[in-house]
């Protein structure tokens, strides 16, 4: 079994095991099994990075078997510089989620942890799939565990949020399904994504395909104006669900742009770059303002996620090296930072059972260690140099300068909004005098919480101070992608 298969199926195996035999009476065993499974799944993804050949844009660790012969569907896996980092990132976030759930989840523990492990394997599958149908199967299958996670362990409006989450994403991806089948037909009966990359298509067909993919991925990213499912899902999901949604699931959509929209329909992508750029700018500007007025911390971070993902899509559709590399770097850093932000909210929520900014104030006085972490992550969320958040945003803005000065100006100005809503929240929640007795009674974080936040803090600082290992991996693949996109493939 290849490394990628192992990375996909090991967590799925542990998850299925937990679902099959886990009982609430033995919650401790379930937690231990889940932790072992998550850590093991993370460890098997590390060789992917250490043994990665950064000098080639070709797919690496390729596995290919015939799967459904009737439609020439293959079990075809492989990663390149665009996708390889997301495999360990997904597995890493899953470890964090398992730790975060440790004492917090008391009901149906095994099912909760099992659902996350299965979800982790499926999401890794999305990043590794090189066969269109395999990609679609993984992409859609992720909806099932997430739907259950939001609906079973979520907040008061969980049912509404779960349905909205499922139906929005399902709507987008069904159009993508037709697009995939159309490509299958046009390519003479192949679901191979790399074959599709080389397939010449007339502009009309490219446009239709581009918009079909756009429907699927823009909902997932999410881009304005189809973002409305995200605040609901984030607010209602349990902490772990929010973390995985923000850290990984949104990246599935952005990754789809890189793997499908841009290389398969490059001419349409260049034709409609103004559309994506406009929508991305709306996301960073308008959603930034929306985030400013939120009363609910989770909602605020949810809107901030939309704005940050706007930077990602903005970077991609500049079609220059800095923009695309910056976009991918932003995806990774947002994975760390948004995950950490939601964990911090989770830590507070577990103690106070409130997400309202107004119920807090002066938390730094009673929880100094926790506040230190929270402020660090907040700084990373504003894009402070030295933290992970800075790398991607900085590169995207540089790319934008290369592309069009005014777009760069607009995008850079919005960083102020990012700083404003984040810092204002920090000020109201953590600083100032102790607001009420509930805050006065708060206990600082315990060892488990310290561990998960410290690991994330280390990751945020590492990526902020030394982003070379991240960007080095991407460079060759990105320049290959850009050359490909620049070449017309009309017929």
């Amino acid at each position: 079994m290849g490394l990628l298969s192992l990375a996909i199926w090991l967590p799925v195996f542990f998850g299925a095991l937990l679902l099959a035999v886990g009982r609430d009476q033995h919650a401790g065993v379930a937690r231990a099994v889940a932790l072992v499974g998550a850590v093991a799944s993370f460890l098997v993804t590390l060789p992917l990075i250490t043994r990665f050949d950064t000098t080639t844009a070709a797919m690496q660790y390729v596995e290919k078997f015939s799967w459904i012969e009737r439609f020439n569907v293959n079990y075809h896996l492989g990663v390149d510089g665009l996708s390889v980092w997301f495999v360990p990132l997904t597995a890493f976030i899953t470890v964090i989620v398992v730790i975060a759930a440790w004492e917090v989840i008391q009901e149906r523990v095994a099912q909760y942890l099992g659902a996350f492990l299965i979800l982790s394997g499926l999401m890794i599958g999305v990043f590794c799939a090189l066969d269109g149908m395999l990609f679609y199967v993984f992409f859609e299958a992720t909806l099932i565990p997430m739907y259950i996670i939001i609906g079973v362990w979520g907040g008061p409006k969980r049912v509404y949020a779960a349905f909205k989450f499922f139906l929005y994403t399902f709507a987008g991806s069904l159009l993508m399904l037709v697009a995939l089948v159309y490509l299958y037909f046009k390519s003479g009966g192949s679901f191979d994504i790399l074959t599709w990359h080389r397939l010449p298509l007339p502009l009309g067909a490219q446009t239709l395909l581009f918009f079909a993919f756009f429907a699927a991925f823009s909902v997932k990213v999410p881009m304005w104006p189809v973002h409305t499912w995200l605040p609901d899902a984030h607010v209602e999901a349990p902490t772990g669900g929010s973390v995985v949604l923000a850290a990984i699931m949104l990246k599935l959509g952005a990754y789809g742009f890189l793997r499908f929209s841009m290389p398969i329909a490059p001419d349409a992508a260049r034709e409609f770059d103004w559309l994506i750029i406009t929508l991305s700018l709306v996301a960073v500007l308008y959603i930034g303002l929306v985030a400013l007025v939120q009363q609910d911390m989770k909602k605020l971070v949810a809107y901030s996620s939309i704005a940050h993902m706007g930077f990602v899509t903005l970077g991609f559709f500049m079609f220059n090296q800095l923009g695309v590399v910056g976009g991918i770097a932003q995806m990774i850093s947002h994975g760390f930072v948004s995950g950490a932000m939601f964990l911090c909210i989770g830590v507070l929520y577990d103690r106070m059972h409130s997400r309202d900014i107004a119920s807090y104030g002066g938390v730094a006085n009673t929880m100094p260690r926790f506040a230190a972490f929270a402020v660090l992550f907040a700084m990373a969320n504003c894009g402070l140099p030295g933290t992970a958040g800075f790398v991607g945003e900085w590169m995207v803005i540089l790319g934008a300068v290369e592309y069009n000065f005014f777009i760069a100006l607009l995008a850079a100005t919005t960083l102020i909004f990012g700083a404003a809503y984040t810092l204002w929240m920090v000020k109201r929640v953590y600083f100032g005098d102790v607001a009420n007795d509930n805050v006065r009674a708060l206990q600082d974080i315990n060892g488990r919480e310290f561990l998960m936040l410290a690991v994330l803090a280390a990751a945020v600082l590492w990526m902020g101070l030394y982003p070379k290992p991240f960007t080095d991996v991407m460079n060759v693949s990105v320049s290959e992608l850009l050359q490909h996109v620049a070449r017309p493939k009309l017929n």
């Binding site: 012969e69 299958a141 099932i144 079973v152 089948v181």
Partner: protein
């Protein structure tokens, strides 16, 4: 062509004898649980299934009864699947029937006659044989629907089913008589040849085809001939609902292929148009009406109508601009869809029966509230079924939808590509009401605390059924290939 070729009808003869034997055994046996009757019936069907499978493996096409019947891989395969689904139906039905004092000998005998009728339809090569099989199946089903004589809703359902069914049979018969009048033959291959000559008055033929399609649409349960489906599904005892919703669909598919493809492919341009209308109407009415239902059986009835829309859609894409190249692909996609659908339906209704107890039915969607707490395994199995019906990968239902969409898109005709988009948009609407069942099972608190009624054998069967729906998705290559080979053989003969 050999005059009588008894070998060809061996499975049917076996089934007829077995039905008589079961009837007799039941008369002389007063076992309260009807154990001998049950096992004898199952054994008889198992032998029948093996005979069909053996015939399928041989892969040959043969004619018998002076050309009245034909056995080819498609007929064999459909009869085999029908036999399997009847076996599963009986296994699911037994505990429920026993608990309601409905387990009588006639249930088993009539079921065998239903299967016999299905088998006759699968191998019909003559208009009259089609009709014979159809009536044999339908009359047995009417009687089965009315099995609960003292139950008003059941009786009403049976009346509706009978009256509307008789009318549909009349439609079909009328259409067939027009075809006979125009072509001068009842034999399907000769009808095909006559139409191919092109010397026959087209208007009479089209007139006949309209009635044939209407009759078939009724039997398939496609809108706007769907009126009977919700009432019968809801009113019939669940065991009979399962019998109606499972195996007979194979027979309806078989006679659709026999009549319209093997007999009237020359008129495909005409009946395909009707099929497109039927398909879109079924998708729209089925999916929209299902949203409003609170009764699970009724919701599944509307869901069936929408699923039939997909099957009919696949059947409508066979002949593209006078070219039959894509016919094998299109019809085999529909056939695979049908197999996937029946597999899922069996489990769904099986589960509904399993959860019902003495004096308590679990027909309302709300009866499933909190099932995941009462029995996580059953809730998991039902979740698999619902996601499969909704067409979410990796369940088999997704691959079935993929097959049909693929058949539509590869025609490369804008109309069909547009239909594929319409079909997926309606499955989005469909996802809502399937998700609602999942929601009720997982997100809601249980309204009953009684532990789930345990019957070891049926639990195992349900889990196996769930596993099949789950695994036949990713590993569907074998069944898809079987369907294609069967259809290709049927087309080339």
């Amino acid at each position: 062509m050999s005059p009588l070729n008894w070998q060809v009808v061996l499975p049917e003869i076996w089934l007829l004898l077995a039905a008589c034997a079961v009837l007799l055994v039941d008369v002389f046996n007063d076992h309260p649980e009807r154990r001998p009757t049950f096992w004898l019936t199952q054994a008889a069907i198992a032998v029948f299934a093996l005979l069909q499978l053996q015939g399928y493996m041989a892969g040959t096409t043969a004619y018998g009864m002076q050309g009245m019947v034909v056995v080819d891989p498609m007929g064999r395969l459909l009869a085999f699947f029908a036999a399997l689904s009847v076996m599963a139906t009986l296994a699911y039905a037994r505990p429920t029937l026993a608990a309601r004092d409905m387990q009588k000998g006639e249930f088993y005998t009539l079921t065998l006659f239903v299967l016999l009728g299905i088998s006759v339809m699968c191998s019909a090569n003559n208009f009259l044989v089609v009709y014979l099989g159809l009536e044999l199946m339908s009359l047995s089903l009417y009687a089965l629907t009315a099995l609960r004589r003292d139950h008003a809703i059941s009786t009403e359902a049976a009346m509706k089913y009978f009256v509307l069914g008789a009318m549909a049979s009349g439609f079909l018969l009328y259409g067939l008589s027009m075809m006979y009048g125009a072509t001068g033959s009842l034999e399907i291959p000769r009808v095909f040849d006559r139409i191919a000559t092109g010397s026959i008055n087209k208007e009479v033929l089209v007139f006949g085809v309209v009635f044939v399609v209407a009759g078939l649409a009724f039997k398939l349960g496609a809108a706007p001939f769907h009126m009977w489906v919700p009432d019968v599904y809801q009113g019939a005892p669940t065991a009979v609902t399962l019998l109606i919703g499972g195996a007979p669909k194979f027979a309806a598919f078989a006679i659709t292929i026999r009549l319209l493809v093997e007999g009237m492919l020359g008129l495909a341009i005409d009946w395909q148009q009707m099929f497109i209308v039927l398909a879109v109407a079924s998708l729209a009415i089925g999916n929209l009406a299902a949203i409003a239902q609170t009764n699970l059986k009724r919701m599944l009835a509307y869901s069936t109508i929408s699923q039939m829309g997909f099957i009919v859609l696949g059947l409508s894409a066979g002949v593209v601009s006078g070219n039959t190249l894509s016919a094998g692909n299109a019809y085999s996609s529909s056939m695979f869809y049908l197999v996937a659908y029946v597999l899922t339906t069996l489990g769904t209704f099986g589960l509904i029966m399993f959860l019902s107890r003495q004096g308590f039915e679990s027909e309302e969607i709300n009866d499933f509230a909190g099932l995941s707490r009462r029995s996580p395994w059953l809730a998991g199995v039902m979740t698999v079924f619902m996601f499969s019906l909704a067409g979410v990968p990796p369940m088999v239902g997704f691959f079935a939808k993929l097959a049909v969409i693929q058949a539509l898109v590869t025609t490369n005709v804008p109309l069909y590509i547009g239909l594929a988009v319409v079909a997926v948009l309606f499955s989005l609407i469909g996802a809502f009401y399937y998700l609602r069942v999942v929601k009720v099972m997982w997100f809601d608190e249980p309204t009953q605390t009684a532990p789930v009624w345990q019957t070891q054998g049926v639990t195992l069967l349900l889990v196996a059924n769930g596993a099949a729906v789950f695994l036949f998705g990713p590993f569907s290559g074998g069944i898809m290939a079987m369907c294609r080979d069967a259809i290709v053989a049927a087309l080339s003969s």
